[in-house]
């Protein structure tokens, strides 16, 4: 067990040190969701029908999802940097299990996402909404799963890439539309038929729906649209397991 846990801890804690020692990254991580939430909620407040919720409140869990998404991008970009700098070669010839590389990266991205989300939650009173304690607890649990899933996806893409610019381009092309069409940005009801199909094919739609339901647990907020709960849980869990096994398999085979 030590042969797996110690290397995982080593690589996880190294990633956290990297994050904390890059001041610009910390400032960006704290400031970016705040800025996006303020401007989007102010700009779309009267344009989007968010059911019974104020749009700023509706958007809040979506911004937390965005935090997890950005944390995943920045966490897994270090895979390419580590390969370029030569650090990764030292890890690959060590007796550390290859799965430890995947787990440590997923845990680091998720830890950063959870910490950022916790800070972001302090802004909730500004939105005039107080989540229930079970909502926060279950939300943290779901967010843990979301962070792991998105980091696994980022890892899967980053492992085979050599260019950080290319990785950014692919991640933006793939993940931002996934976020936009997940129901985080606007409710997925009442859209054009073709867009409805695209939304239903988007796995993040189910992940976001699950997170939103938990976030608003015990509140009077009624969300418009969304998949059945069982389907949201099944797709979210399936996606996490699929990406985890695909990442580990890819690292073991390389």
């Amino acid at each position: 067990m030590t042969a797996f846990l110690l290397p995982t801890y080593s690589l996880w804690s190294r990633d956290l040190k990297h994050f904390l020692r890059q001041r610009s990254r910390v400032i960006g991580a704290i400031g970016q969701p705040f800025v996006i939430w303020i401007f989007l909620s102010a700009g779309f407040r009267h344009s989007v029908d968010a059911g019974t919720a104020d749009y700023g409140v509706y958007l809040f869990p979506g911004i937390i999802l965005l935090i997890a998404l950005f944390a995943a991008i920045f966490s897994t970009i270090s895979v390419i940097e580590d390969r370029k700098s030569g650090f990764l070669q030292g890890v690959l010839v060590s007796p550390a299990p290859r799965a430890a590389i995947v787990w440590s990266k997923m845990l680091a991205g998720t830890t950063i996402a959870l910490a950022q989300s916790l800070l972001f939650l302090l802004l909730l009173p500004l939105a005039g909404f107080t989540p229930s304690l079970p909502g926060i607890g279950l939300g943290a649990l779901i967010l843990f799963g979301v962070g792991m899933t998105l980091t696994a996806l980022g890892f899967l893409i980053a492992w085979s890439m050599t260019s950080t610019q290319g990785f950014h381009a692919i991640m933006n092309l793939l993940l931002l539309p996934m976020w936009l069409l997940s129901g985080a940005f606007f409710p997925p009801s009442g859209v054009a038929a073709w867009l409805d199909v695209v939304i239903r094919l988007n796995p993040l739609y189910y992940v976001n729906s699950l997170f939103q339901r938990v976030f608003f647990l015990g509140s009077t907020v009624a969300l418009p649209g969304g998949p059945p709960l069982e389907l949201a849980i099944a797709v979210s869990t399936g996606l996490f397991l699929l990406l985890l096994f695909a990442s580990i398999r890819m690292v073991k085979r390389s």
């Binding site: 030590t2 042969a3 110690l6 290397p7 801890y9 080593s10 690589l11 804690s13 190294r14 040190k17 990297h18 020692r21 890059q22 700098s85 030569g86 650090f87 070669q89 030292g90 890890v91 690959l92 010839v93 060590s94 007796p95 550390a96």
Partner: protein, 309 residues
């Protein structure tokens, strides 16, 4: 003892082409000795390094340390390019690396013998990015030694070091190899260093063309090699052969080597005022002379072409 037997490795391109990097390579490297692996660019030495370190899967042949498969052995590896984390301190780099090998190190557990001999004690809390190239290489070596390896494998560890730093680094490497009874495999293109190793393995086009102590390889050249540089040296070589039984080697068109001789003997055979002769020099034989004798071209010439390219 590290035993490599009948190692072969080929690279396959996506277009279906195959490049044979190594074939029929068998080498023994003893404990407490530094074995240098030298060879020109493309000779297969990097492939051999990657196979021994486990960076490449072994498909043909066997690699064993003391009779057991090498993949189970504790290996210390120093790469040509840095494998350090520049944002972390020396101490953090060492600790994180040890954990990859399942070892948790406290402050008191950092092996003093390694830290002191590598002169890192005062730099433990310095970020690696702020260290000189020489000290970064020392940290690399400390990392490799930290986990108590039986086998130390180094790929061009002197890259970026000046001569003084290189010599100091090599002295530490030799000391550690002898004092800890390590099997040390040093992949290098630095012939001056290779000459000081206990054994030299010369690779050419993926095969071993020499495997002996440096002194054994250089024995046939005697104490002195005389080098004549100029042009149209074939004619001069013919005249030397007609007048003596001196052994000669030509390194391209511009350089003629006469070995196991002296400058005086050569000056009795050639006229140094000959317009075709630009320079005559007497020096100690080097591994480059051996390389020329076996391959017909200069090892250092290959390297200079590589650097120029």
């Amino acid at each position: 003892m590290l035993s490599l037997r009948d190692i072969a490795h080929s690279y396959h391109s996506r277009t279906g082409g195959t490049t044979r990097a190594l074939h029929g390579v068998s080498v023994d490297a003893a404990r407490g000795a530094v074995t240098a692996v030298i060879g020109a660019n493309g000779s297969g030495k990097s492939t051999l390094f990657r196979l021994v370190t486990g960076a490449l899967p072994l498909r043909a042949g066997s690699i064993a340390l003391d009779g057991k498969p090498v993949h189970g052995a504790r290996r210390g590896v120093v790469f040509q390019s840095p494998a350090l984390d520049p944002l972390l301190t020396v101490r953090e780099n060492l600790r994180h690396h040890a954990m990859l090998y399942g070892i948790r190190l406290g402050d008191a557990d950092l092996p003093a013998a390694i830290i002191d001999v590598l002169d890192l004690r005062d730099r433990l809390d310095q970020k690696v990015a702020t260290l000189s190239g020489g000290y970064q290489r020392r940290v690399e070596l400390a990392k490799a030694l930290l986990t108590g390896p039986d086998l130390l494998v180094l790929d061009e560890p002197f890259t970026g070091l000046d001569v003084a730093a290189r010599d100091a680094f090599f002295a530490v490497l030799q000391h550690m190899t002898v004092s800890r009874g390590l099997v040390t495999l040093l992949v290098t293109h630095d012939l001056a260093v290779a000459t000081r190793c206990d054994r030299v393995v010369l690779l050419e086009a993926g095969t071993v063309i020499a495997n002996a102590r440096p002194a054994e390889l250089l024995a046939e050249f005697g104490h002195t090699v005389v080098v004549i540089r100029g042009h149209a040296l074939m004619d001069i070589e013919r005249r030397i052969h007609a007048a003596s039984d001196l052994k000669t080697l030509r390194n391209g068109e511009e350089s003629l080597l006469l070995y196991d001789t002296s400058l005086q003997d050569v000056l009795m055979l050639v006229d140094e005022r000959d317009a075709r002769i630009e320079d005559i020099e007497a020096r100690r034989p080097s591994l480059d002379d051996y390389f020329i004798a076996r391959t017909g071209r200069s090892f250092s010439g290959d390297m200079q072409e590589l650097i120029a390219a």
